[in-house]
Assembly symmetry: C2
């Protein structure tokens, strides 16, 4: 069993090429984590997820505590065994999804009470319970329990929300059971306010975490505000710990965040888009439902090596989507996940070569080339 750790292998401006070590293996960074909400990456077999190049998955504490239940997964040997994924898993703390999905929420100093969006049953989530759940799940990376500050938020609202999250971060650290190869990440809050982000980053480092996430972004503030916030936030974080931008994002969001020093990402975009006929390609996004693909013998993306692009025409994929066939979701999801992993590999290689800025410009030009309609 390796100790949990992070090594920066190379830097290129603010960007870092690194490696996270966990109990279930290592992760090359910058890394993209596919989302496996309910103990499955939707429409994918786990061996296919691994074949796309993914080295770590994200699981959702909120969904798993409701169905099938954290204790049940624990009794069945943990999330890795349950879902047949033996590589690293990061679980979120449940805080974000309680706010966005549950009903009849009530938040106080102790935690959140809410009703399940599935069956209306009552639940209570606190920093201590979130740590317990993530321990049952056997997450390689546990996230501290926080309140995701809504956007927009006035300075005083953002401040008190952030300070509650910092008190919860301390309780999370105290409740976390340290185990060899397992890490706990704190989450920087403070909306788009530099002073609050600075206060949050300092407080988290005082508590001490194995990695630092940047929360409360990708919630409607727009790419420009997100990049600005990253620009003043990442320099506040220790250089020898991984930095994780939660819930981001589109390909160019990721490129911009890597340029600003972020190491880890997760987003439902490649999987959700795969179920709604949207494909990310090296010439921009394609809507495969569009009738103009009906007789097109070309592959979806000529620069992709995934099964969807090597074995099938756009005409076939269009046909599957029009007929609402499951294989359409399977193939497009596989492609999108492979596209994201190819993007990350390209960014890692560029950092190693010291050419990230040029590569970022090339990628930006490629994705706007046309051939294709906007998403």
């Amino acid at each position: 069993m390796t100790a949990f750790g992070f090594d920066v292998l190379t830097t290129d401006g603010a960007a870092r090429r690194g490696r996270v070590q966990t109990a279930h293996g290592s992760i090359e960074t910058p890394a993209f984590m596919p989302v496996g909400t309910a103990a499955t990456v939707k429409a994918m077999m786990p061996e296919s997820v691994a074949a796309t190049g993914a080295e770590i998955l994200l699981g959702n504490t909120y969904h798993l505590m409701l169905r099938p239940g954290a204790e049940r997964i624990g009794a069945l040997g943990g999330l890795h065994k349950f879902m047949n994924w033996d590589k690293p898993i990061l679980t979120d703390s449940g805080g974000f999804q309680v706010m966005s999905l549950s009903k009849l929420r009530k938040l106080d100093e102790n935690g959140v009470t809410f009703r399940s969006h599935v069956d209306g049953s009552a639940h209570h989530l606190t920093p201590e319970r979130s740590m317990e759940i993530q321990n049952h799940l056997d997450a390689d990376i546990t996230m501290a329990f926080d309140e995701c500050t809504p956007f927009p938020a006035e300075h005083d609202v953002a401040a008190s929300s952030m300070r509650l999250s910092m008190r919860w971060a301390k309780r999370s650290k105290d409740a976390f059971v340290p185990r060899e190869g397992y890490g706990l990440f704190g989450i920087v809050q403070g909306s788009v306010y530099p002073d609050l982000r600075a206060e949050s980053a300092a407080k988290l480092q005082e508590i001490g975490f194995d990695g630092y996430a940047i929360g409360g972004l990708a919630v409607g503030e727009g790419q420009e505000a997100m990049f600005e916030t990253l620009e003043f936030t990442t320099p506040l974080l220790p250089t020898n710990r991984p930095r994780y931008l939660m819930g981001v994002g589109k390909p160019l969001d990721i490129v911009g965040a890597v340029l600003r020093g972020v190491d880890m990402f997760d987003c439902v975009m490649p999987t959700r888009s795969g179920r709604t006929a949207q494909a990310f390609t090296h010439r921009g996004t394609l809507n495969l439902r569009n009738a103009r693909h009906a007789e097109d013998p070309r592959p979806m993306d000529e620069d992709c090596d995934c099964p969807a692009c090597t074995h099938y025409s756009r005409a076939y994929l269009h046909h599957l989507i029009r007929c609402e066939e499951i294989q359409g979701a399977m193939l497009l999801t596989w492609h999108n996940l492979r596209f994201y992993q190819m993007l990350m590999a390209r960014l890692r290689a560029a950092i190693a070569a010291g050419t990230l800025k040029q590569t970022a410009a090339v990628i930006e030009a490629e994705l706007g080339r046309g051939d294709v309609e906007p998403l």
Copy 2:
């Protein structure tokens, strides 16, 4: 390119162990053909279908003529290339599904006019058009165009329906374009009436076909009537041509039909059941939606080598089904198709060993063992 052909390798009572040769490869019989209605075996990648042991798929002329259109598939290189399946394909003639799915049907001597169940568009299907469509699809085995006699049918209704199908069989033969390695099958009709089945079988042999299907069964007559009809029908067919029982069936239907001399089968049961939480196992059928599986760490079927049974617990499969996750349909479909192929391999081995009757009795006992609730 091999000539289309069929060899009987061994017999055991009425049962035969054989091999069909086609332009896209050979098929060991008795064989089960998974159904790939709309140019996809629902919820499966074609390489996974092949991994279950399937050597031939069935495609549906009715569905494919409506979406994406036979000419379009032809222009894209045929059905094998379109759906990435390079092994043999059998296509039905469209007759059965026009009767069961389309709207505003009008049948006359020439053929059937109908409206699409998808978009209400008007279509016309004749023996000549059915042959043309199946030629565009590049089916290794083309089925003659027939009317599937409803059940129950009075003798005179069954007789005139069967005689229309025989005139259409002749027109199908005349319109079929012979190609090396491609075969045309006739379809015996006549409901449950021995004299009509005999008349039909004789007429088809007078026309001359590469194989003989038994149609108009599995339409509500029940297993006993089906077996009785097979008992007096299969002896009417040439021994040196494959015999195909259309649309059958449950595992014990197949066992009984193999005992009575049938070589080929197709049915949506394994795939459709896979999307509705039903699993076929060596101890009978399981409904994985049932709450009693929620904490069960055991595999679905201990005697199965498919991914669903080797990598996952019943608890996990139950969880996927409760959450309506696509991976649930993917895993159960894979399992059911593998179960059917294991059944066929077992029947083939038993015929080769001359022990089919004993094996059939063992299978019957196994499937009724319990552990499990009825389907």
